[in-house]
Each structure stands twice: as C-alpha cells, then as structure tokens.
C-alpha cells in the first residue's frame, strides 16, 4: 500500500520546542510523504501534540513557547522570517481532540476557512466547495438537507467529521489530526478512519494517537515518541507501520506496543 516513491512534503530537522524553561521535545528528525498517513504514537506527555503543533506553527499562539530547528514545507523553512504563519496554517489543516465546531450553521462552519482566507467566490462556487469538503469528510449524505441547521445539532462523531470538512474546505496539502477520535465511540471512530484512508491519496496526513491499534489500522508509517529521563520527548523509532508493529528495533517500542509502558 505505502508509496515510498511519493514526494516528501514536510521535513523536520533538529527540532526543539521549549515551553518557558522546560524542553518539551528535542532532536526531532522526521519527514512526511504525500499520499501517506503517518501516525505518531507514544505515551501521554511525550510531546506528540507539541510536534504536531510545530508543523503548522500553532505553537506561535503560546507566548512561552519557542521553537528552534527547521521545519520544511515543500522545501521552504516555515520558521524563516518572511513566512506568514497564517499562510502556513491555510495550507496545513488541523483537527483537534474534541470536536470544536463553531456555534454557527453546518454550512457556515465549512465555509469559514474559505471566507477568512479571502477567496473571491460566487455563491455557487462557495456551495460547491462546501459540498466537496463534506463529501470528502463522508458527511454530505447525512447533512445535505439541513445545511442551515446549527452545528451543535449533530452528534459527536458527525461534529468531528464536520471539523475535518472545515479543514479540507480550504484545500490544504497537509492534514494534521491530534487524537481526533479520542472522545468518540467505536463506530464513529471507524467512520473517521475509513474516511482518512479514502482521502489519503490527495493529502499528506499526520495523525497523533495513543491508540496503537488505530495506528496499525490507518497508517503507512509510524513514529514512536517517548520521554527520556528528563521528560524530554524524543522519537525513538520511525519506519513503515508493519515493520514497527511486527519487528520493533527498540526495546522500548516493543514494551510500549505490548502494553508494558503507557
């Protein structure tokens, strides 16, 4: 399944993120390829979300956070001075742990990113883009007759797919998902996993999860993160998912996968 010949879209080099005086993650080197799903797994507190948030510069929003090292997106260092973080976020979408739709209608939620990014669209173009995003997020059939309903009228799983549609509507190249199913039931989780597999050809998808089975089910590559003795998160192993799960090289990976850590 995995396409190792696919182009590399995001490359992280010697990344370190510091919150105040505490080093959260250090010495992170990893790259992410198009048309692949990469899972980042590890026990809680190992810095998975921190790594994810440094890929679309969400860490900028935390005043105490400082980032060093390089993150390349299509060959451009996103932390260099002349790069607009807002542009980066419009090209690299993100979905959060809890569904967080805006308290607006279903349609306005999906159209939000198109509007803030200033696309000059006619009504029909806007409708079509919203529809495309909802189709990709496997939500269209359930909501096509009630696009004007309040987003909070949807179930938790539907809300999370709405958030995925909201992220896809602005046509990003990369989709970051931060434990997107942690608050959902197994059926909703399965729907989201299958929608991720169905759209992965067009995107570079990075998913943080602490559910190892989920990583095994959806991802092509897996990175394992682990805090060291000073609670600094590091990547201890990275490779094709099948290899990681069947034949881990690192003892800690083996312990983690078999449930002895975490």
């Amino acid at each position: 399944m995995s396409e190792s010949s696919a182009p590399e879209v995001v490359r992280v080099e010697a990344l370190r993120v510091v919150y105040g005086s505490k080093i959260a993650i250090d010495d992170i080197n990893i790259s992410f390829k198009r048309s692949n799903i990469t899972a980042i797994i590890g026990p809680s507190g190992c810095g998975k979300s921190t790594l994810l948030r440094s890929i679309n510069r969400m860490n900028d929003l935390i005043p105490a956070a400082s980032v060093s090292g390089r993150v390349y997106f299509n060959g451009v260092d996103i932390y260099s001075k002349d790069v607009d973080p807002v542009y980066i976020r419009s090209r690299i979408g993100m979905v959060f742990q809890r569904p967080n739709p805006f308290p607006f209608s279903i349609f306005d939620n999906v159209a939000f990113g198109l509007r803030v990014n200033g696309f000059k669209l006619t009504k029909d173009e806007l409708y079509n883009k919203v529809k495309d995003a909802l189709v990709k997020a496997a939500l269209w059939d359930e909501v096509k007759d009630r696009l004007d309903n309040h987003a909070y009228s949807l179930s938790g799983g539907q809300q999370q797919r709405l958030c995925i549609a909201r992220a896809l509507a602005v046509d990003p190249e990369v989709l970051l998902l931060d434990e997107p199913t942690v608050s959902l039931d197994p059926i909703s989780t399965a729907r989201i996993e299958s929608l991720l597999r169905s759209i992965k050809d067009e995107y570079t998808i990075i998913i943080v999860t602490h559910n190892m089975l989920q990583a095994a089910r959806v991802s092509d590559y897996t990175a394992v993160m682990m805090p060291d003795d000073d609670m600094v998160g590091r990547i201890i192993e990275f490779g094709e998912t099948r290899g990681i799960f069947t034949n881990p090289r690192d003892k800690r990976t083996e312990d983690y996968i078999s449930g002895r850590i975490g």
């Binding site: 299509n74 451009v76 607009d84 807002v86 542009y87 419009s90 090209r91 990014n117 200033g118 000059k120």
Partner: protein, 295 residues
C-alpha cells in the same frame, strides 16, 4: 505551482493584513473615549469649582447668596439617611446571602427568592422614590422624613449588597464547611465559626459599594423628600431632610454662574467622598488578599 498559490494568497491578503493591524487600534479608540470622558468630566468640574472649595461649603447652610451658601444640612442629611440605610441593608443582605448559600443549597423556594432579588435590581431607582412616598410616607404615615429616605435607599441597594455577600460566601471553599460538619456542627455553627469570619471583609466591601451607590442617588430622595431649602440640622429621624446630590441638583438648576461654580465645588466634595470609599474597598481587598495568603 507553490509560488503561484503563494502569489494569489499575497494578493488576497493585502487588505486583510492591514485590517488585522488596525483593528486593535480601532477598538482601543472606544476605550480611549470612555476613559477620556471620565477625565474630562473630572477636569471640567474641578476647573469650574475648585476656587469655590472652602470650609463654608461644608459648614454653612444653603443661602440665596452664593458666597455664603454651603451644604451643611445636605451633608448631615446624607450621613443620617445613608448611614441608617446601611444599618438596615447590610445585616439584611448578610442574612439573605447566608440563607441562599448556606441553608437553602439551591432549593425551589430559594431560586424564586433569588430570582426576585434580580428583579428588584432591575427596578429603576426613581420607582423606589415613588413607592417610598406613596407607601412609607403616606400609607404608613412615616412622613417625608429621614427614616422614610433611609428605608427607601436600603431597599434600593439591597440587591447590590446581597449579590456581593453571596459572592463572598461562594469564595469560601467547601472543604472547610465539610470539615466542620463532619465534627457535628450545625449549619449555624458552621456559618458563625467557619464561614462568616472569612467572608466578612468581602461582605463589607459590598456594604461600602452599596453606601457609594446610595450616596450618589438623587432621584428617589427627590421624590421622597421634595426639593427643600433646609437651614437647620436634623434633630431626629423624623426630621425633614435633603442630601448632597439633591443640593447639587438645586444649585445646577439655578441660572446664575456663581451657583454653577458652587455646584461644581459640591460635586468635587461628593466625588472625594466616593473616591475615598472606593479606596477603602481597595484597601479592604488587599487585607483580604494578605489573609488569604496566610490561610
């Protein structure tokens, strides 16, 4: 291809980037207008009235001669009515807050009663004056006197003071109460020995807040007492009376410039009293904060 997307993006974003920079400036203009209004009110009042500030202003009775006129009777009237209203209101507010927070713990009766407190808070202050006149002064025969004014003001500030007292009780952590209950204390013992000593300073801030509000209220007292020209000190709770804001209203309504200056001077006196009370609440809050550090 990436360059092309970026170029389109930059074109789209030029206006939005500017908007993003100027929005906080636009919003801060509103803050500026509010703050500037406070200062221009203070500034013009002080510039108009400061040279009329003298002991006469405080010690003399009102007079048709602006050079001799003072607001002695109004100051005494304010002290009597507002002081008495605080004596009525503060214990009532504390008792109400204790019932609502400590005894009822969210029963149906309590929710109706506390809903009515917020209803009472929404009644325009002038209405309290009209009812004070109709009910207290005439129906109950208390007359248009200090005691009628005091009760009117007490009910007027009751919701404000009660709400602060409720807030004060809510800041006391539940573990303290549970600890005392576990030793077999009754609710009253918990209130008296555990809750009240800790909540009292903050409740007093609420009381001072109410006093400040009552001191500045002209409308209800105008209705209850009428616009009087009083040239002697109040002798009992059943004396006719006037208060500082009413004396100011009286002066403001006169066309001669000297009385305008006099009203400005009177406003300065009233504002000094209000700021002093405000300072007192800040001091109380600091005492409170220090005690919280020890606890």
């Amino acid at each position: 291809m990436g360059d092309q997307i970026l170029a389109q993006y930059s074109r789209r974003m030029r206006f939005r980037k500017i908007l993003d920079k100027v929005l906080p400036l636009i919003l801060s203009v509103a803050v500026f207008i509010a703050v500037a209004t406070v200062f221009s009110v203070l500034f013009t009042t002080i510039m108009t009235g400061w040279h009329r500030l003298s002991l006469n202003l405080i010690l003399n009775y009102p007079s048709a001669n602006p050079n001799e006129a003072g607001m002695r009777s109004a100051i005494l009237g304010s002290i009597y009515t507002v002081g008495l209203s605080a004596l009525i209101c503060i214990p009532l507010s504390i008792a109400t807050a204790i019932y609502l927070v400590e005894y009822s713990r969210g029963g149906r009766l309590a929710s109706i009663l506390s809903y009515n407190i917020s209803n009472l808070a929404g009644v325009p202050s002038v209405i309290f004056g009209v009812v004070g006149l109709g009910f207290l002064a005439y129906w109950l025969g208390m007359g248009r006197t200090i005691i009628t004014g005091a009760f009117t003001l007490a009910i007027l500030i009751l919701p404000l003071v009660t709400v602060t007292c409720v807030e004060a009780l809510k800041t006391i952590p539940d573990d303290l109460r549970l600890g005392a209950y576990a030793l077999g204390a009754t609710t009253f013992q918990v209130v008296r020995r555990v809750v009240l000593p800790r909540a009292l300073p903050m409740m007093l801030t609420g009381g001072i807040l109410g006093i400040s509000r009552a001191l500045g209220e002209a409308a209800p007292i105008l209705i209850v007492s009428g616009l009087l020209f009083i040239r002697d000190d109040p002798t009992s709770l059943f004396s006719r009376f006037t208060v500082i804001p009413l004396q100011l209203f009286n002066w403001v309504s006169r066309p001669q410039p000297a009385f305008i200056e006099l009203s400005s001077a009177g406003i300065i006196v009233l504002l000094i009293i209000l700021f002093a009370l405000n300072g007192l609440t800040i001091a109380l809050r600091q005492v409170l904060a220090r005690r919280a550090e020890w606890a």
